[in-house]
Assembly symmetry: C2
Homo-oligomer: 315 residues x 2
């Protein structure tokens, strides 16, 4: 896919995703309006709108499109796109807390706890996670009330399982724990643990995004497995590239100091294996992901380019 064409498509698709999830969030917050809880609604909205590229809901929607080109009126898809972004947002809000990474800024904006206090940020994160699952349960209940087919209800229930599993100890939270513990206790880092953290902390939500997209669009079990395998490779490559960029990146583009990992003595894939092997690993994972993508139905030109774009980014 041509680079300029891709940029146009990316911008348009991201805009569509942004509209879908913002509308669902606004409707949700509006429904909860109540003077005594206004602050947490504000804190949730602040955290959510500070969000970046909406990569996860975009990946979910583009994966869905491989198996079903008709995206009109796919409300369950919109619900899970929003739920996943809520989960991603809550994890950032809690991650930034003084009790965790103690970050005061994220993407140039003050973090939620800096603006609302750390107690309210704990609650805002809790509320974002709770809301993600609340809208998912309500989706299943709505489908039943509307008398939808067993297949549709079953898929939504499966997506609830995927989301809660991969956001939990089997996924993102498991990676967080290993990461926080290694850092706080200064435990030795080895390649196995780094790969565990990359796989759980980052790849798990990419797997959720693409897995739910496939599941909702009615992919077969084999196709679903293939999609999750692609997502896993993309997620790990993305994180190794992060370590690579810390060494060779451009400070201005990255928006952070280059070489910070080495200076702080943080062990990464690159400090353990060296730059060359790391870059080769990124290429291997990316090539394998794109090759697997070729086995899937539909038009995958955009998704293929998006994967390259994500992995071979310079910031």
């Amino acid at each position: 896919m041509d680079e300029a064409l891709f940029e146009v498509a990316l911008k348009q698709k991201t805009g569509e995703v942004q509209t879908i999830i913002s509308d669902i969030l606004s409707g949700y917050l509006k429904e909860k309006e109540e003077p005594y809880v206004q602050t947490i609604l504000d804190a949730m909205e602040y955290s959510f709108l500070a969000g970046g590229k909406r990569l996860r809901p975009l990946l979910m929607r583009e994966t869905y499109r491989l198996f079903d080109q008709n995206l009109e009126g796919k409300e369950t898809l919109g619900t899970f796109m929003t739920a996943l972004e809520m989960i991603h947002t809550y994890s950032l809000v809690h991650d930034d807390l003084p009790a965790m990474d103690n970050d005061e800024y994220r993407r140039g904006k003050e973090t939620t706890w800096k603006v609302y206090g750390d107690g309210m940020a704990v609650l805002a994160g809790d509320a974002l996670m709770n809301s993600a699952f609340e809208i998912a349960f309500r989706e299943i209940d709505d489908l039943m009330e509307e008398g939808r087919t067993q297949a549709e209800i079953g898929r939504a229930a499966k997506c609830g399982v995927i989301l809660s599993r991969k956001a939990g100890i089997d996924g993102m939270l498991g990676g967080q724990v290993a990461d926080v513990e290694a850092e706080k206790k200064h435990l030795p880092m080895d390649l196995q643990k780094i790969l565990f953290i990359h796989e759980k902390k980052t790849a798990a939500l990419i797997e959720t995004a693409m897995g739910i997209g496939a599941e909702l669009a009615g992919a077969s079990k084999e196709e679903y497995e293939k999609v999750v395998e692609i997502a896993r490779k993309v997620g790990i490559a993305f994180q190794i590239q992060d370590d690579v960029l810390d060494v060779i990146g451009d400070s201005a583009e990255l928006g952070k100091h280059v070489g910070s990992d080495a200076e702080s003595g943080k062990e990464t894939f690159v400090t353990l294996r060296g730059l060359e092997i790391s870059q080769r690993e990124v290429k291997r994972l990316s090539d394998e992901a794109i090759e697997l993508l070729g086995d899937l139905p539909g038009d995958h030109a955009f998704l293929e380019e998006l994967i390259r774009h994500l992995i071979y980014r310079r910031k």
Copy 2:
């Protein structure tokens, strides 16, 4: 119901509840065993086992029993009993954090953050909430896989909605926000806000307990509404009694200093309305709850005594 007989029944039923939820928790944690995440499994277990009277799952099970005497093999009930206790536990873990109430002890044991650090306690709370919803989604998915009736699946989905709504901004989290904000910002407290906090922070999970019990046992819509109304009255009476005990309680029995609310300048139902009116309000709510209970089917002798016991406790 005779007091001695009630004590025996309470002990036995609490023991049964304890066994059901501990077994489900153990099975769940066992399934997640993985060296890198062991600490959070330990922190979750520590928090959960530090738990007290298992009041919420007990109320759920006893409410279920009103509508269906056969408790054998009711796995969905066990799942939601455990999920609710996980939600209750996560709220205590986050409540105790330095960023929130900064409590070092709960029921004579060190709080989770004192033992595991505040970063790990944030994650342990997150993991408990996530796990609650994970087991609920898996329950719905299992029922579908087993080809259970539409009615059974529909009830489980409704219970997912009840749990996530009442644990969220419409319920417990909403109450938490109003409470934290009033305290941190020293906002003026009035009766309306106190009742809002009591209703959301405490009554909402009692409503969840009894409401899910009724829903799973197949109660009619009218019966469900009545059950939730009973639970609301019990929850609010329970909290006003808490304020009353701060004035007239026995320090030794309460395990805390009596009169602490007045000394700290904390406004409560009692400081605003006086002891006599507060006690009358507790009696009114309790009488109304018990009268409403009389309209429900089944044998409510135990549940009636449990409500009296909860409200007119001395500690």
